[in-house]
């Protein structure tokens, strides 16, 4: 069993890198073109002071792109996986608190964001997706060595 995992692990790591890296890269790329909207999406969580929310709205898309590139290229995989997991954890907290407080917002994960109709919210599926990605990030932290990576 252990030997078998040893054989497959580098391929699982490759798949994990492409999944988390791909999602982060796309999410960031969809947001950098409209940073006004990105900052607005962060403000709509009503969690952080306005100035910090705006700051995060401008910075987050670029961080996602950076992490996505590192994971796809297979550079600094362990630490990038850990950062990816931390980001996902923060997203889960943010979405869950919006849900619990009865806000009606789009998560703004892939652009968009801001207030929407109460019956259009998708909190549960957003949280489940982010929990999955959190797991992928943790896996990469512990098993960073995979196929087609620059890390050796």
């Amino acid at each position: 069993m252990r030997a078998k995992f040893g054989t497959y692990q580098p391929w699982i790591t490759l798949l994990a890198r492409l999944t988390l890296g791909g999602v982060l890269l796309v999410a960031g790329a969809l947001k950098v073109g409209n940073l006004q909207k990105s900052a607005m999406a962060v403000r709509a969580y009503e969690l952080l002071p306005t100035a910090i929310a705006n700051f995060l709205g401008y910075v987050l898309p670029w961080l996602e792109i950076g992490l996505g590139l590192l994971l796809i290229l297979g550079v600094a995989v362990s630490i990038s996986g850990l950062f990816g997991a931390i980001i996902m954890f923060a997203f889960i907290i943010a979405i869950a608190q919006a849900w619990a407080r009865g806000l009606s917002i789009d998560c703004g994960c892939f652009g968009g964001g801001g207030p929407i109709d109460p019956d259009e919210t998708k909190y549960l599926s957003e949280i489940i997706r982010d929990i999955g990605l959190l797991g992928v990030g943790i896996f990469l932290y512990y098993f960073p060595k995979g196929r087609f990576a620059l890390d050796k």
Binding site: V32, N34, L35, Q36, K37, A39, M40, R43, A44, E46, T50, A51, N54, Y58, V59, P61, W62, L63, I65, G66, L69, L70, L73, V75, A76, S104, I105, G114, P115, P118, L150, D151, K152
Partner: protein
């Protein structure tokens, strides 16, 4: 051994490049999101009112209206409550400040520019209504260009050359960035957002019902 140190060099170079991209991106984002103090601003605009277009500057209370001309919910708001709001403006029952936001994209910027040009002609209220009445289906459809706004202006009686030039030159395009920056500071999370004396109305109940909208304004001091 040589190949392994070569790999390490490539790896470090890639990390440096990614960090560089992120850093340049972040710096660029901050510079482009700051307000531009050299931007031309319409005569009715006041910096202390968040760069909004101010109608009835000496009346009280103050109503702030944050809209994006391409936002469908703003169109619905205008259809339901615009008539009453224009009556409030005409009878000087409140100071009304319009903040045309532009997060939906390039055609929102051109529309906000056209509205500002109309404000210079004293025709903001009519232009605001005409823009919502002629909101295209879909965002940035290609329909809202300078020629369109010049023609729209003519249809409500703005025939001056200054208006046409203002629209064609995109005179107030940079001003829309200032409105966006000020609206971000004012914690406006979506459009439409209506504030009376700085307090936002309830998005879920008071925008979609004229009776409740009137009641909310009355509670804020609109007689």
């Amino acid at each position: 051994m040589a190949s392994s140190s070569g790999d390490k060099g490539t790896r470090n170079l890639l990390i440096a490049m990614v960090v560089f991209i992120v850093a340049v991106g972040v710096i660029f984002s901050f510079i482009s999101s700051r307000s531009d103090s050299t931007a031309a601003i319409p005569a009715a605009v006041s910096e202390s009112d968040g760069y909004g277009i101010v109608l009835n500057p000496t009346s009280t209370p103050t109503i702030d209206v944050y809209i994006d001309y391409q936002c469908p919910a703003c169109r619905v708001f205008e259809i339901i409550n615009g008539g009453y709001l224009n009556e409030v403006i005409a009878q000087k029952k409140a100071k009304v400040v319009y903040h045309p936001m532009t997060f939906i994209g390039p055609e929102s910027i051109l529309a906000a520019n056209a509205a500002a040009c109309a404000a210079d002609e004293g025709e903001f209220v009519d232009m605001n209504l005409a823009l919502f009445q002629n909101q295209p289906q879909g965002e940035n459809s290609g329909k809202w260009q300078s020629e369109y706004f010049v023609a729209l202006g003519k249809s409500i009686g703005i025939n001056s050359n200054t208006f046409e030039q203002c629209v064609n030159d995109g005179k107030y395009v940079n001003w829309t960035g200032n409105v966006a920056a000020a609206s971000a500071k004012a914690d406006v999370n979506g459009t439409p957002t209506i504030k009376i004396n700085g307090k936002a109305l309830d998005r879920n109940t008071e925008y979609g019902d004229l009776g409740k909208f009137r009641a909310a304004l009355a509670a804020g001091g609109v007689k």
